[in-house]
């Protein structure tokens, strides 16, 4: 077996285990009542599709839509750049250190650390894991914002005015997030690699030349596109699912909190599920 094949298998194995673990943790308590769970799930899915049907309609005023679209890009995307860069930098550094300490050996070529760091950052961390992190930050923000608007009758006020509240509130969030996400992915990958270089130059974990060699080894440009496509799909999940949970809240502040939690959990599970299918489809 070639050493690069071995490295790729190792990377896939680690991520598959991680995804299975999260899936079972999320679903284990729910499986006690399978019938009810399926009925509830299908009902929610139907209501989600109906809401998306209302959301993807022509905005009443394009000027107002444009204003909201730019506002959402700034609020959901640009305001997330800081956390994306911070996490990516340190994860890039840690992956590089772990690969060097655990995989690099006299039997491995000297480029293996750089190669695995690049592949993990590009294929999984910057697209999938970063989206999982953003599902927490952005998802809870969206669900609580729209949920609060629902319980304080602001959404009713929009409906009474004759405004398509779903389109006005949700569409700019979805399109804004889908627009900004590819940039976040590129920033994340680049910062992760900077983190790896930091371990080489500052921490002297490995020679920078070895890292550069690994980063450039058998680079497939399609992987960058794959990462962007996956993350754009996840951006849709991160923005539409919490919007659904927020929009359909009934009751008071306790239910808004619950909707926020449900939105994050459901978005995370859907990202993990769809990651498996998208990875298979795009690879």
């Amino acid at each position: 077996m070639k050493s690069e094949e071995f490295a790729a298998i190792m990377v896939n194995f680690l991520f598959l285990n991680f995804k299975c673990l999260i899936f079972f943790i999320t679903f284990a308590p729910e499986t006690n009542n399978n019938g009810m769970f399926i009925t509830k799930g299908l009902t929610s899915f139907g209501r989600y599709l109906m809401l998306m049907g209302r959301t993807f309609s022509r905005p009443e005023r394009l000027r107002m839509f444009g204003k909201e679209y730019i506002k959402e890009m700034a609020q959901l995307g640009v305001n997330s750049i800081g956390i994306v860069l911070l996490i990516s930098f340190f994860i890039g550094a840690v992956i590089c250190i772990q690969m060097k300490l655990n995989i690099q050996s006299p039997w491995m070529p000297r480029w293996v650390t750089g190669y695995t760091t690049r592949e993990i950052m590009l294929l999984e961390f910057s697209s999938s894991i970063m989206c999982l992190i953003l599902a927490g930050k952005v998802g809870s923000n969206i669900a609580s914002e729209i949920g609060t608007m629902r319980v304080t009758q602001q959404i009713d006020a929009l409906d009474i005015m004759g405004v398509n509240s779903a389109c006005y509130l949700i569409l700019p969030k979805i399109l804004g997030m889908m627009t900004i996400m590819p940039f976040l992915v590129i920033f994340s990958s680049a910062t992760g690699i900077l983190g790896a270089y930091a371990t080489a130059y500052i921490g002297h974990i490995l020679p920078p030349d070895d890292l550069t060699l690994g980063l450039q080894h058998t680079f497939v440009p399609w992987f960058v596109w794959m990462s962007i496509i996956k993350s754009t799909f996840f951006a849709f999940i991160i923005s539409s699912v919490p919007s659904f949970f927020g929009y359909t809240v009934e009751g008071g502040s306790v239910n808004v909190g619950k909707a926020s939690t449900d939105a994050v959990v459901t978005s995370s599970v859907l990202i993990l599920f769809s990651d498996v299918f998208l990875t298979r489809l795009l690879s």
Partner: protein
């Protein structure tokens, strides 16, 4: 004018509105009164289309709102204004932006005209100078007045108010009542107010509908309440000992 014909509303097995037929007149402050849980809010939500009646008709100047298509309802709603119990102002917008919102969405006006119209409406509710404040920075009474300004920005034909005095002190409640009454006359609107406030009932009630356990128990004007023989109505209106005694004194004095 809004006419309600044989309106029923059920939630699963529970019958909340039972054969309501009434008329809300144009240019008058129409009040819906009743105990908590009697169906007032459900009736109002059916009128504005936030709920769909199980059966019956809601006629806006002869146009059946229930039978309208979604598109027709959207257009119809542009003729309505609503003031919610919680004011329902948009938190992320300033007072001026809140009032400008319906104008931004629907009025074919220039930005300068929209700002001018919004400032006119704020001036009308005595809130000039509060344009740049956010809803969280003004009092409950001022929030209600902003909601009124927003509701009248597009010159609606029908104004709905769901408990506009809730959470306000008696003096501020009177200000809101006077404002709603004078705006109704000024714009010649059909105004419907859901209320628990007896000051509103006696002060601005030009057409009062009393809902009891989902059906229309009584309809009349405020002057008739004092002499009404309807026990449920008098028990509701004159619930406190103070009001009961006052009524007895007035009736004794008249004899």
């Amino acid at each position: 004018m809004i006419e309600v014909r044989n309106l029923y509303k059920n939630f699963e097995d529970k019958n909340v509105l039972n054969n309501i037929s009434t008329t809300f007149e144009n240019g008058k402050t129409n009040l819906i009164i009743g105990q908590s849980g009697s169906g007032k809010t459900v009736l109002m939500k059916n009128l504005v289309g936030l709920l769909t009646p199980t059966s019956g008709q809601v006629l806006y100047d002869g146009r059946d709102f229930v039978a309208m298509t979604k598109k027709e309802k959207v257009l119809m709603r542009r003729e309505m204004g609503m003031i919610f119990q919680s004011a329902a102002l948009f938190d992320s917008m300033t007072v001026l932006e809140n009032v400008m919102f319906p104008l931004d969405m629907f009025a074919p006006m220039t930005l300068r005209d929209r700002i001018r119209r919004a400032k006119e409406c704020l001036d009308r509710v005595d809130l000039a100078g509060k344009e740049e404040k956010y809803p969280g920075e003004i009092s409950g009474g001022q929030q209600k007045r902003v909601a009124i300004a927003r509701a009248i920005a597009l010159n609606p034909k029908y104004l709905f108010c769901d408990e506009p005095n809730s959470g306000l002190d008696p003096k501020t409640s009177l200000v809101i009542d006077d404002l709603l009454h004078s705006i109704t006359k000024e714009y010649n609107m059909t105004t419907i107010i859901n209320t628990h406030d007896m000051n509103s009932v006696m002060g601005i009630g030009e057409n009062i509908i009393f809902i009891y356990e989902g059906h229309k128990e009584w309809q009349g004007v405020s002057a008739e309440i004092m002499h009404s023989s309807n026990q449920r109505l008098t028990d509701f209106i004159f619930a406190s000992d103070l009001l009961k005694n006052m009524r007895n004194i007035v009736l004794k004095h008249e004899k």
